[in-house]
């Protein structure tokens, strides 16, 4: 069981590193796209486009900081609330596997939501931006629910 856990967590960790790298690359591309829009709008004299682009640029910076500084802290805080081993024997191993997987999947889901938010902020898609933030909140509450469900499952299946 521990081998399966470490294999799955290694896979999720590699996915995290890849997603974080892609996030960084796309954030920079989004930034230069917005600057290009600012320059063309200022030449054309379109004030609204300039302000839209400036606010989009700010939102990209804020989302980048949230993704790289906020999400790991949230995941660490929630993962510490997940009970790792709610019993003994196979239940304990299953609890460890479940808590590790829940933490990894929720972290990846939140980073993916931040990635989608950043892309939506770039193209000005307000609805998909809101949906991505809702997805981030869903992952958050899913981890809170899991922190209550794992001890209940251990109690139901029998503890030592």
């Amino acid at each position: 069981m521990s081998d399966a856990t470490s294999l799955l967590l290694t896979f999720l960790r590699e996915a995290w590193v890849a997603l974080a790298g892609a996030f960084l690359a796309f954030a920079l591309l989004a930034g230069i796209a917005q600057v290009l829009r600012v320059s063309s709008a200022s030449v054309l004299g379109v004030n609204l486009w300039v302000w839209e682009s400036v606010s989009a640029l700010m939102s990209i910076v804020v989302l980048g900081l949230f993704a790289f500084l906020g999400i790991p802290q949230i995941v660490n805080a929630l993962q510490s609330s997940l009970p790792g081993a709610g019993g003994c024997g196979p239940i304990s191993e299953l609890g460890t596997l479940a808590s590790g997987l829940i933490g990894g999947l929720a972290a990846l889901r939140m980073l993916k939501a931040a990635f989608t938010s950043m892309l939506s902020a770039t193209i000005g898609g307000a609805s998909s931006f809101a949906n991505a933030l809702i997805e981030c909140g869903e992952a958050f509450f899913g981890m809170i629910l899991a922190s209550a469900a794992i001890p209940l499952a251990a109690w139901f299946l029998g503890t030592c």
Partner: protein
Amino acid sequence: MFDPIMEQILAIARDAWAFMAGLLIVVALLGGLYFILQGTAGMAFGGSRMTSMAIIGVVGLVIIVLFAFLFLPQLGEMLKNFQPKPPF
């Protein structure tokens, strides 16, 4: 496992960055030419407001281009330093 995919994505992103940086230079040069034309026309016709707006436009354009080429790489370096390890 994801390294080959990441290399492909980063290669595309690098190409896109070079393309957009080139496009920004072209747009800035065209914009600068337009503002210079506006300024000289304003000077020829005695339109002081037109000339001053053109000068402000050129200065703004230079600031935007400098912002793009100096601030964005620094922002990327900062975010790269903040790039978190997997928190699980």
